[in-house]
């Protein structure tokens, strides 16, 4: 008989090993999935994990794209992780991402065709504020009326999507767009654009911000009393109160921070890779970032690595579709398995397996 026994202290080894094992298990299960679909499993894994990085035909283009794709995931996940550590569950980063893009784009378009050097910084500020403000709705409702921030933030995503559609069709629509939805292209207008700064690694201002956010989060968690309070509130809320942590304030800070970072991610995306506000501007970064946050153990460096891994599965997944004819749903399943296995393997961090009869049940 196999039993699960709680560990006295969570295993440090398994905290690090769990994501690695989860990735390995995902590869095995993914290979089985590909085989069942009649595709060569090794070719599939190679296309997803190897070719975007090292294949001479694709790597030169795909490598910088990793940064482009991973940047927003990491930036959003960093903010979410701060909240998750404190037990503040912002599930609506996707909505804050949209509002950040809308607010930033609105500022840029309001001054169109200005190319003032102050314009882009103003848009960045507006983007952060837009995401922050959208996150303040669940935060204030939580603090004042004790509503669930999980539900409120999630449902506000759908409201944000409607606002996005309305903006693309109405108040931000390109007046020279022949009646089609979508705003002017911000990326092709100097003053509102977020150009790639370093071609070889696909770094734009969003990437720069992402790196700064990772460093700042690392310092906050490792060295600052605020980081300690976050952890304390998540792990021992009662003790946190005695230590002088005000839960309401932490809720507002965490949601505000994650909202602002998600808003920034949206702003950098709409001014750079996406280029314009369109009906389907949001592509799920806010939700995928939740996986990235957990895959990265809510730890800034872990999130950095997890973001790149996730980006790799996107870019490699497209290659697998293109070269092998693997359906898109299989790639989605593949990404889902990653979180599934991580949560499953995570049990090992807090528990250990015991084999044999219930002798140990009497304790040692």
């Amino acid at each position: 008989m196999i039993r699960l026994e709680p560990r006295p202290v969570p295993s440090r080894l398994w905290r690090v090993a769990a994501p690695v094992l989860a990735v390995a298990l995902t590869m095995v299960a993914g290979a089985v999935l590909f085989a069942l679909l009649g595709k060569d499993p090794l070719a599939g894994l190679r296309l997803i994990f190897w070719d975007p990085l090292f294949d001479p035909q694709f790597a030169a283009y795909a490598r910088p794209q990793l940064m482009v794709k991973a940047g927003p995931l990491i930036l959003i996940a960093i903010g979410l992780a701060m909240g998750f550590r404190a037990g503040v569950w912002n599930i609506g980063a996707e909505g804050q991402y949209i509002l950040g893009a809308l607010a930033g784009a609105a500022v840029g378009l309001a001054f169109y065709p200005s190319a003032s050097p102050f314009l882009f910084p103003a848009m960045v500020l507006a983007g952060a504020l837009g995401g922050w403000a959208w996150a303040m709705i669940p935060a204030i409702l939580k603090v004042r009326f004790n509503t669930s921030e999980i539900l409120v933030s999630l449902l506000l995503v759908y409201v944000a999507e409607k606002l996005l559609a309305a903006a693309a069709l109405g108040w931000l629509r390109n007046p020279e767009g022949a009646g089609f939805p979508g705003s002017r292209n911000l990326a092709r207008h100097p003053g509102t654009d977020n150009p790639v700064l370093i071609d070889a690694i696909g770094l734009h201002w969003g990437g720069v911000t992402t790196i700064l956010a990772v460093i700042a989060a690392q310092i906050l968690l490792a060295r600052h009393v605020g980081g300690f309070q976050l952890r304390l509130m998540g792990e021992a809320p009662r003790a946190a109160r005695f230590a002088g942590v005000v839960p309401g304030r932490v809720t507002i800070l965490c949601l505000g921070l994650s909202g602002a970072l998600a808003g920034l991610a949206g702003l950098f995306e709409v001014t750079g890779p996406a280029g314009q506000i369109s009906i389907d501007f949001n592509t799920g970064y806010g939700f995928t970032a939740i996986i990235v946050a957990f895959l990265g153990r809510l730890h800034p460096i872990g999130i950095l690595l997890a973001g790149f891994l996730m980006a790799l599965t996107y870019i490699g997944g497209e290659l697998a579709q293109l070269m092998l004819g693997v359906p898109a749903a299989a790639i989605l399943a593949f990404q889902g398995m990653l979180l599934f296995f991580l949560l499953a393997v995570d049990v090992l961090t807090g528990y250990r397996f015991r084999f044999g009869r219930g002798r140990a049940a009497h304790g040692h």
Partner: protein, 359 residues
Amino acid sequence: MTRLIPTLAGFTLAAGLGLSAAAQDDPVKAAFVYVGSIGDFGWTYEHNESRLAVEEHFGDAVETSYVENVPEGADAERVMTQMALAGADIIFTTSFGYMDATNNVAAKFPDVKFEHATGYRRDHPNVSTYSARFYEGRAVIGHIAGHMTESNIVGYIASYPIPEVIRGINSAYLHAKAVNPDVDFRVVWVFTWFDPAVEAEAAQALIDQGADVIMQHTDSTAPMTVMAEAGVIGFGQASDMAAFAPAPRVASIIDNWAPYYIDRVQAVIDGTWESTDTWDGIAPGMVELGEMTDAIPADVRASAQAIAESIAAGDYHPFTGPIARQDGTLWLDVGEVADDGTMLGMDFYVEGLSGEIPN
């Protein structure tokens, strides 16, 4: 291209398919970018059916590939670039939202031909655009709807307030009104192309308002399921939706891209490909009318068929004056027909339609 061959052969071998296909002389490679899933049984489904028609038509001479569920924007640009890097000779980008991405990537790969569906920008000599005159099909099903409704309320599930959709509503309404002066159109805007739950709700809402004929400009078959339960009728959209015949699906408008795709790939093979702007309708078969079922009386089927034939023959234009705008101002004088420019930018209802176009 040369670098691709060993890679491809390697994959083919690995896949256990043997050496046969890839080793022969350079097949033309056609790649397709889809905005939805090939199983949507609507827009993307038809593009994929047409891709399969290309494969069947050319056999070993052409190799096709696709990536589905590609979001518009940066992701689309990356997918197109990877296709070009993988050696594609011609890339079909099958959604309006791919317009910027298509032109951006086309600039980087001047030797690759790009075909963008439903857009209007051809910034480079290697970009073509193509679309279908769906409003011609809408005229025919509008005619049928006008005859078939007993409550005189026709429901319309509209996706986004863009010219193509508005054109469809106007065309359907004019032809329903021509045979049934009392007809009233109820339009529900769902702001999505594909969302079965939302589309089903819209259908139910329209039925609750008394609609007994429903048209949809969205891609899922969910409204059909609701119509079947309620005993009202409707029309297949984008795809035939034949599974719902003879009712609720009594007829359909089918997007048939196959002849165009085959033409364009042939042009690449022959080296005669040029940048063009195509807007085809019933005549060349880009807009096809699915079989009209027995649920429609024989005389209505005959008159609907006659309209389709006269449109195809060029004898009749669905927007022929006199037509006034909703606000009462004259749009087309007696006998005047709409020009393509006005139709492409159509942002107004014709007289008689109630409600406003949302903005």
